[in-house]
């Protein structure tokens, strides 16, 4: 790669990554509509003096903390069971957990609303009307939100902790057993403390994600009158009554971003430290597996409970909802009203268009991320370009920017710089947003892959007369093809389930499948929303299964930005 190309790539990445940050800062000083010309004002920052801002912050923090508690409640024991005990069906559990990451959280959220809404929820209707019990489970509460979000974060906790358990020297646990310290005591006195750095990393990571997620705050939080930072930013951009208050969005986002950046900074510090903690003994040990004996039924039951809550319950309720015209408790009467009517909506123009948009998104966005990441990683890993480490750090910044902020910033740029960035209201703005938010994942994956490739292989090609571009195309890319494709498929699946940015950037013509569900849902067309959800989930499942058959390990990655 010529020097000029390398510089161009570096500039492109810098622009992509820094543009959202600069834009957010900019819009916080602009009073009304997006403009490049003044006047500028500080009035937007009056939000800093408002009590509601701090209420939002507090809500977001409570939500994040409760969420990660739920995620760890399921994730920690299941990771331990899979890595450290003789529980059966480990592979199946692993891949099911991996697949769970791919389920868009808003499908689970809708499913749980259908079950646990205090007025219409199927489960609540059954408990309160049929059994005459008092209402105890209300999804429209902070714990309800955290419960649903926690279920969907569990795979993150699971994979981060699996890595910790897998690398932990079993001799340390064995020492405890040898001294006749019982299993449970060993777990709490040895295993948990030893996994602490990894656990802390997982906690901070989930906290960061919890602050940024939008789906549950939208679907459960808004009707439940529980407002968080993310849902507030969302509603401000699409205030239906008046002009969107971009200035206030900007000022609010600055606060939001500051919290997120601090968490990200702390996260990177902990990650670096946990490498030092990592127990890599070098000898090829096989971790000693705890024999569960009859306890394996308890362990297995626990795993089943998780999958029932995260997959089975919400999906059965979605399927049921898609078959009946209004929410009702399944009964003989209800069966008579079952029809596939809602599925006829799939022939609607909006759905067809959204399918086309989805196709564009899921093929171009991962490709863009991978191509850019290959170039960036190659510069970082191989070149002698000055400042290449800065480039590497730039590529990690998006990890700290909540997706919704990337989306809002891009929309703002498209509004003020339309002629130069003519993507407003098209699917392409979504492609760019996705690329920005996933460049961290792309470059981390490819850095790791490229470091594995012996430098001699490329130098041999250079000496053989191959110019750099050819070395990259004929030697490096074929040699990292496996991890590259794995990364591509993973991004492909993530882009398919992407909803935060899709909903934020949705105008009229750029809906993707997930946006359609959101639009239908917010219009109260529950049966149609459920029908499209079922289709979305089925497609997802088929694609993930195909990817799996191709031989891709889904969900093996630990630091995913989902």
């Amino acid at each position: 790669m010529s020097y000029r190309v390398a510089v161009a790539v570096a500039f492109l990445v810098a622009i992509l990554v820094l543009a959202p940050l600069v834009t957010i800062g900019w819009m916080s000083f602009v009073p009304d509509l997006p403009t490049l010309r003044g006047p500028y004002t500080l009035s937007n920052f009056s939000v800093l003096a408002e009590k509601t801002t701090y209420q939002l912050l507090l809500n977001s923090v409570i939500f994040s903390v409760l969420t990660l508690v739920i995620a760890l409640f399921f994730g920690f024991p299941i990771a331990w069971l899979v890595e450290r005990t003789d529980i059966p069906f480990k592979l199946t559990i692993r891949s099911l957990v991996g697949m769970t990451i791919l389920i868009p959280t808003f499908l689970q959220a809708i499913g749980w609303v259908l079950l646990l809404s205090p007025t219409i929820g199927i489960m609540n209707q059954f408990l309160t009307k049929t059994l005459n019990l008092p209402l105890v489970m209300n999804v429209y509460t902070m714990p309800g939100m955290a419960f649903v979000q926690g279920l969907s974060f569990m795979p993150i906790a699971f994979f981060m902790l699996s890595a910790v358990f897998a690398n932990m020297d079993p001799a340390l646990e064995e020492a405890a057993y040898a001294n006749r310290i019982g299993g449970l005591k060993t777990l709490f006195r040895v295993t948990v403390p030893l996994s602490w750095p990894g656990l802390l990393a997982a906690i901070i990571y989930m906290f960061m994600l919890g602050m940024a997620v939008l789906e549950v705050p939208l679907i459960i939080g808004l009707p439940g009158q529980i407002h968080l930072f993310s849902s507030r930013v969302f509603t401000l951009t699409r205030a239906s009554s008046s002009v969107p208050q971009y200035g206030v969005v900007g000022a609010t986002s600055v606060v939001f971003l500051a919290v997120s950046m601090m968490a990200a900074f702390y996260y990177s510090k902990v990650i670096r430290k946990s490498y030092r903690y990592a127990v890599v003994s070098g000898k090829g040990y096989r971790p000693r597996l705890t024999e569960l004996g009859p306890w394996k039924w308890v362990g297995g039951g626990f795993v089943l409970v998780y999958f029932s809550l995260s997959i089975v319950f919400p999906f059965i309720s979605l399927i049921w909802m898609s078959l009946v015209p209004y929410i009702q408790v399944p009964s003989i009467d209800a069966l008579s009203s079952v029809s596939l009517g809602a599925y006829r909506y799939l022939k609607n123009q909006m759905v067809i268009e959204s399918l086309a948009n989805t196709a564009i998104l899921i093929f171009t966005a991962p490709t863009l991320v991978i191509v850019l990441s290959v170039l960036v990683s190659w510069i970082v890993v191989r070149s002698t370009m000055p400042g290449k480490l800065t480039l590497d750090r730039l590529a990690t910044i998006p990890l700290a920017i909540p997706n919704i902020i990337i989306a809002v910033a891009l929309m703002y740029i498209a509004l003020i710089a339309g002629p130069f960035f003519p993507v407003y209201g098209t699917v392409w703005i979504l492609v760019v947003a996705f690329a920005i938010s996933h460049i961290t994942f792309g470059t981390r994956t490819l850095n790791a892959a490229m470091i594995q490739i012996h430098k001699d292989l490329e130098e041999a090609a250079a000496v053989s007369g191959a110019p750099p571009a050819r070395v990259l195309r004929r030697i490096m890319v074929p040699l990292i093809w496996g991890p590259l494709m794995e990364g591509w498929i993973w991004l492909f699946l993530l882009s398919f389930r992407e909803v935060t940015m899709a909903a934020t950037l949705h105008i009229t013509d750029n809906a993707v499948l997930s946006t359609v569900v959101w639009v239908l849902w917010s219009n109260g067309e529950f049966d149609r929303a459920a029908a499209v959800s079922v289709v979305l989930a089925t497609l997802m499942g088929v694609v993930a299964l195909v990817a799996r058959l191709i031989g891709t390990q889904i969900g093996g990655r630990t630091t995913l930005k989902v």
């Binding site: 002698t384 001699d456 292989l457 041999a460 000496v463 053989s464 191959a466 030697i475």
Partner: protein, 370 residues
């Protein structure tokens, strides 16, 4: 053919700077086999990588044929892929995703000259038959043995008929027997193709057997340059003498410089040594020098030899039978001397023996440095 002038290369990391190459200069003729010999870390590989264009030196000049490919002063740096070189790496660097044929064809399809399909096929087949691998052309590269990979690497380096062939310790990963075989193969091949070859190795035997000329390197500099015979038989520095084979050193003072018999007399701790003085070398009386004598240059006998000079009596301290020789340690006064004795001689422990150091094998090295 290949000329390197005053080359400097420094590696800088956050912790330290390391000057790997310090002012190296040498010049090779067309078709010459030139070896950079030295221990690891002496800068020989760095020099080779600078020639290949894989490293960018700070100062100096490198030219291949008439073309200057690097000049620090004139700010010229021709990238690797435009230097028309062939290189074999220590790791062979065979591309595992290609067949043997594709590996060898890569330089031909990547180069600036466009060749037809038939031409490529013909050249690859030629290159593979040179290294006797024609039958394996369609094999996937990772299935080859180490020796075969090595030969593929050689074929690949030669396929596009480069002006200069660079070999970076190509034999160090082979087992002893294969290594011996490949030394001969490589030498025959480079001579037949008349390609200028720069060979980097830490193995003195390899260097002596294969080279037209050897440059002995130490600490980023060329300590000495010469034919294998010059380097081995009459080294000019103690470093060279010590690095290229085993050697006994005797410190001493020159008593008489070259006398009528063409020999100098040096007073050493074991007595006066008559030493041959090569042409053009001159030592003055009273000068402090080092006399180097190789173990196989010393004649060990139980009976007193007939020679009149350089005969010493000593005690056999130890002897180890090594098949083609017996490695002995003989103490003369307080100095232990390594000697290679005839394997048939029966040597009881602590025997009293005679050592004859023929003057032609006693090399005076100026100065005590190194």
């Amino acid at each position: 053919m290949l000329t390197v002038t005053e080359l400097d290369k420094t590696y800088t990391s956050e912790q330290r700077t390391h000057q790997a190459v310090r002012g190296i200069s040498f010049d090779t003729r067309k078709g010459e086999f030139y070896t950079l010999l030295g221990p690891s870390g002496c800068g020989k590989s760095t020099t080779l990588r600078c020639i290949a264009g894989l490293e960018k030196p700070e100062h100096g000049e490198i030219s291949i044929g008439k073309e200057v490919v690097f000049s620090g002063f004139r700010k010229i740096f021709v990238p690797s892929h435009k230097r028309n070189l062939g290189m074999v790496f220590q790791s062979y660097a065979i591309w595992p995703h290609m067949t043997v044929f594709d590996n060898v064809a890569f330089p031909l399809v990547s180069g600036e000259r466009k060749l037809s399909k038939e031409q490529i096929r013909e050249r690859v087949t030629n290159a593979l038959s040179l290294v006797k691998l024609d039958s394996l052309a369609s094999q996937p590269a990772p299935l080859l043995s180490g020796g075969q990979q090595q030969r593929v690497a050689l074929a690949r380096a030669l396929a596009h008929q480069p002006e200069v062939l660079l070999l970076d310790e190509p034999l160090s990963n082979l087992d002893a027997k294969l290594r011996e075989e490949m030394r001969v193969q490589i030498r025959i091949l480079t001579r037949r193709l008349d390609v200028t070859t720069i060979y980097v190795t830490h193995d003195q035997l390899e260097a002596l057997q294969m080279s037209d000329r050897i440059a002995v390197m130490h600490d980023g500099r060329i300590v000495e340059e010469g034919t294998p015979k010059q380097i081995y038989l009459s080294p000019r520095t103690a470093y060279t003498a010590g690095f290229v084979g085993r050697v006994n050193f005797f410190e001493g003072l020159v008593r008489t410089s070259q006398s009528e018999d063409g020999m100098a007399r040096v007073e050493t701790s074991i007595g006066v040594l008559a030493c041959h003085v090569p042409e053009g070398s001159r030592h003055s009386p009273g000068e402090k020098v080092l006399v180097a004598v190789r173990p196989e240059g010393i004649v060990l006998s139980v009976d007193k030899p007939e020679a009149s000079v350089n005969v010493f009596r000593g005690v056999l301290e130890a002897s180890m039978f090594a098949g083609d020789t017996q490695d002995c340690i003989v103490r003369v006064d307080h100095q232990e001397i390594q000697v290679k004795a005839d394997p048939l001689t029966d040597l009881p422990a602590n025997a009293s023996v005679y050592l004859h150091l023929p003057p032609a094998r006693c090399v005076i090295i100026r100065g005590l440095a190194g």
